[in-house]
Amino acid sequence: MRAFRIAFLLAVFATLLVLPRFVSSYKLLTYTTVLCLAIMAQGWNFIGGYTGYAAFGNVAYFGIGAYTTGLLMISKWHISFFPALAAGALLSACVATLLGVPILRLKGHYFAIATLGVAEAFREIAGAWDRVTEGATGIDLPLRSDSAFYYYTALGFVVFGVALTALLAKSKLGYGWVAIREDQDAAKMLGINTTMFKVAAYALSAVFASIAGSIIAYQNIHVAPNDFFKIEYTLQMIIACVIGGTGSVWGPLLGAAVYQLLSTFVWSHFIELHPTVLGGIIVFFVVFLPRGLMELLRRFAAVLKGGRFGSDVFLANIRASRLD
């Protein structure tokens, strides 16, 4: 089973590695976008999945990453892409830490609303700060017509994200996050510095969103407030996480891929009803697979190993996520 899993993952990875040779560079842009969605979802997974704080404003850091990268690259120092990306990530982490300390004190939907506000605030700043951001027009980045570059960069960060998530999930940090998600007072009494852990999760999620923002900005060679601070990005990263399975290592990646497949399929078959049908599918996932596809995979894997599917627990999980 373990050998099979490793073989399967290697095959998938090899396919992803050679993919650019076989597809058009236009197609490759789409794939890069999916990988960036996976990066954002991986980041959201830390705060939303493991720590259980429904952050609805992570697009703020996506935008900060995009703007910082762009502005540094076109500045008089002509900083190259990777250092600019790193600077964006660092700035995002700092902003998330400063904002996280007060807003992570809020509970549940109050936190969600506060994060929505944060994202809106940054959009307004980017739109109004003409001298630096050129306002609503936005800024243009240097052109690099090498779509494989963006693709491999994104792929690299996805792999990094998976490795980091797997590592942290088994670390004290990961256990601490889950304890906070399950019961914050209990977590405190178990000796967990909840403020620090939450801020760490939030800052880490900001770093991932920021990296995705940098890559997309460079790929699109244009950054404008309304393209980069739009709530759709936040929703997509959350949906990808939910479809794949929150609080799991592979969930965000799987979810991003499935979300993209579904979206493409729906586009090509239900052009007029696209949002409705896609919305319906998402509702289906939330209602019947509240713990995502990873849960389903885990149960099938158990059956393959000769265990039971555990439909009682599966159904109990579904029921537990509903009011009635």
Binding site: K170, S171, K172, Y175, G176, V178, A179, R181, E182, D183, D185, A186, A187, K188, M189, L190, G191, I192, N193, T194, T195, S311, D312, L315, A316, A320
Partner: protein, 532 residues
């Protein structure tokens, strides 16, 4: 655990230096002082019991010690160091661990991981790496008797197991001072015995313990000293044997009947001597205690009902009858299916066979709201109040199906008359009430529905003895006025003393039924449920 346990240990702990000191702790919520200038010293190596009526501020006091509430004024010292303003996690790491009265399991994690987290961030700079912590969790779970559940998720555990898990999480931190907030509520006599034994063992291992408990037998049996809180003030402190003689404590907390029980407990070192309960004259209750079974028509008739959740079957062909005007007690060990039976009657769990008839109507396939409309009101275990609504709003939720406005006003006054504490707190959010007050509110909400049949699950859970007395009187009064009662109660003694008849449920089957007085005398029952 002979008579000598308490007495021989007392001098030892008495000479201990203070490990912990609270000086003039006051905690106000708005205008209300939950704790009012409490001084308390815990000596190294002792077991200090804290008792007091529901709402006396016991849990708030523990919250203040552990930093979950900030005291409005006062000072808290641990090892002589001021910890008043330290954050909770730092206090935990210094070696103060606690359990929560309302259990706080990390639900989606396995039992092992729950405990491992305690070991991981554990106390006194002895944090462990994740792997070590999981090993340590195994040891602790074996100690509290949960090793057979180690790979289950916490959400699958029953209430007594969740209490054990609370204890295991705290123990995994290697605490120096352990604060136990009602870990024994909901355990039956036999389970209480083993919990007492466990606490003694932990204490013998060098852990100083503060224990809040309403189970008198336990608190009298294990405490070296007792402190009594009442309305946020400390009204007495001393040896258990002195405390039970204190008229103020009897008046404020114990009530006469329980004072006698408690005395028996502290003087003899154990309450298990045969005959102590029964020989003790209990005149107040004799006056109203029902003795004879009523002839009457069956009000509730359950025939061969099976039920369960998911793939798990819990009840197997249970038959039971409650006659008009009766109080029937349903007793049995934890996990026997008592709660499930009440759930099945209320249709919160669907019957899978058999029939349920109530007042001539067939309720076997009824919807939950139809059951309520028929006159069956269920006071569930664990209260299930609406925490964001006030006490009064919660009570008014009980009349959801009623349309008679004036009578509702009257009933509200009636309930306030029966449970005056609710009137004092009528504008407070139910979530802010103490555990015991919440239970009163739940019973009050049940009464507001003017039930023909009242189902009560664990009436005495977490209640001060005096309040249990009051509630039992309330129940006897409504029973005399014509309400029929089916009572599930962990305190088998109390249940059978107040019921006409009783049923014994074991692993989902009725194994015995009879007059309550006969059951109380039955040697098998005395051994299994009374620990006699």
């Amino acid at each position: 655990m002979a008579e000598t346990v308490t007495d021989s240990r007392f001098p030892v702990s008495g000479s201990g230096t203070p490990l912990f000191e609270a000086r003039g702790i006051t905690k106000r919520f708005g205008g209300l002082a939950a704790i009012d200038g409490v001084d308390l010293e815990i000596r190294r190596g002792e077991i200090l019991g804290v008792i007091g009526p529901n709402g006396a501020g016991k849990t708030t006091f523990v919250n203040c010690i552990t930093g979950l509430n900030r005291p409005t004024s006062g000072q808290i010292l641990f090892h002589g160091e001021d910890i008043t303003k330290k954050p909770s996690y730092a206090i935990g790491r210094m070696g103060i661990a606690r359990t929560f009265q309302v259990v706080k399991p990390l639900k989606q994690l396995t039992v092992r991981d729950n405990v491992a987290i305690g070991a991981m961030f554990g106390a006194r700079g002895r944090e462990r790496a994740a792997g070590e912590a999981r090993e340590r969790a195994g040891q602790v779970l074996a100690m509290v008797g949960l090793e057979h559940r180690i790979e289950q998720t916490a959400s699958e555990l029953t209430v007594p197991d969740l209490k054990r898990l609370e204890l295991a999480k705290a123990l995994a931190m290697d605490p120096e001072l352990l604060l136990l907030d009602e870990v024994m509520a909901g355990l039956n006599s036999t389970e209480v015995e083993s919990a007492m034994e466990l606490i003694r063992r932990i204490n013998a291992g060098g852990v100083t313990i503060l224990v809040i408990e309403h189970v008198m037998k336990a608190i009298m049996g294990i405490s070296d000293r007792l402190a009594v809180l009442h309305y946020g003030r400390k009204i007495a402190e001393g040896k258990p044997s002195e405390i039970v003689e204190s008229p103020r404590v009897i008046e404020a907390y114990l009530g006469e009947r329980f004072a006698k029980r408690a005395r028996a407990g502290s003087q003899l070192g154990r309450v298990t001597d045969e005959g102590i309960f029964l020989k003790t004259p209990i005149p107040e209750q004799e006056a109203w205690k029902p003795t004879l079974p009523l002839p009457g028509e069956p009000l509730l008739e359950i025939r061969d009902v099976s039920s369960g959740y998911g793939e798990v079957q819990i009840l197997r062909e249970v038959s039971l009858e409650v006659k008009q005007g009766e109080i029937v007690a349903l007793i049995g060990a934890n996990g026997a299916g008592k709660t499930t039976l009440l759930y099945t009657i209320s249709q919160l769990a669907r019957p899978r066979g058999g029939s349920i008839r109530f007042a001539g109507a067939d309720l076997t396939r009824a919807r939950p709201e139809e059951v309520v409309a028929a006159g069956i009101v269920h006071v569930p275990q664990g209260r299930r109040l609406f925490p964001g609504l006030t006490v009064e709003e919660n009570l008014l939720q009980g009349v959801y199906l009623r349309r008679d406005r004036d009578a509702i006003e009257e009933d509200l006054e009636w309930v306030y008359g029966l449970l005056p504490r609710l009137k004092e707190r009528s504008r407070q959010l139910a979530g802010r009430l103490s555990g015991g007050e919440q239970q009163m509110c739940a019973v009050g909400r049940g009464l507001m529905g003017r039930p023909k049949l009242l189902l009560i699950d664990e009436l005495s859970l977490g209640l001060a003895p005096l309040v249990v007395d009051q509630l039992l009187e309330v129940i006897s009064e409504i029973n005399r006025k014509g309400t029929t009662v089916l009572l599930v109660e962990q305190d088998v003694q109390v249940a059978l003393e107040h019921a006409h008849r009783g049923y014994v449920l074991e692993t989902g089957r009725i194994v015995q039924a009879g007059l309550a007085s006969d059951l109380l005398r039955d040697p098998r029952i005395r051994q299994a449920y009374l620990g006699l």
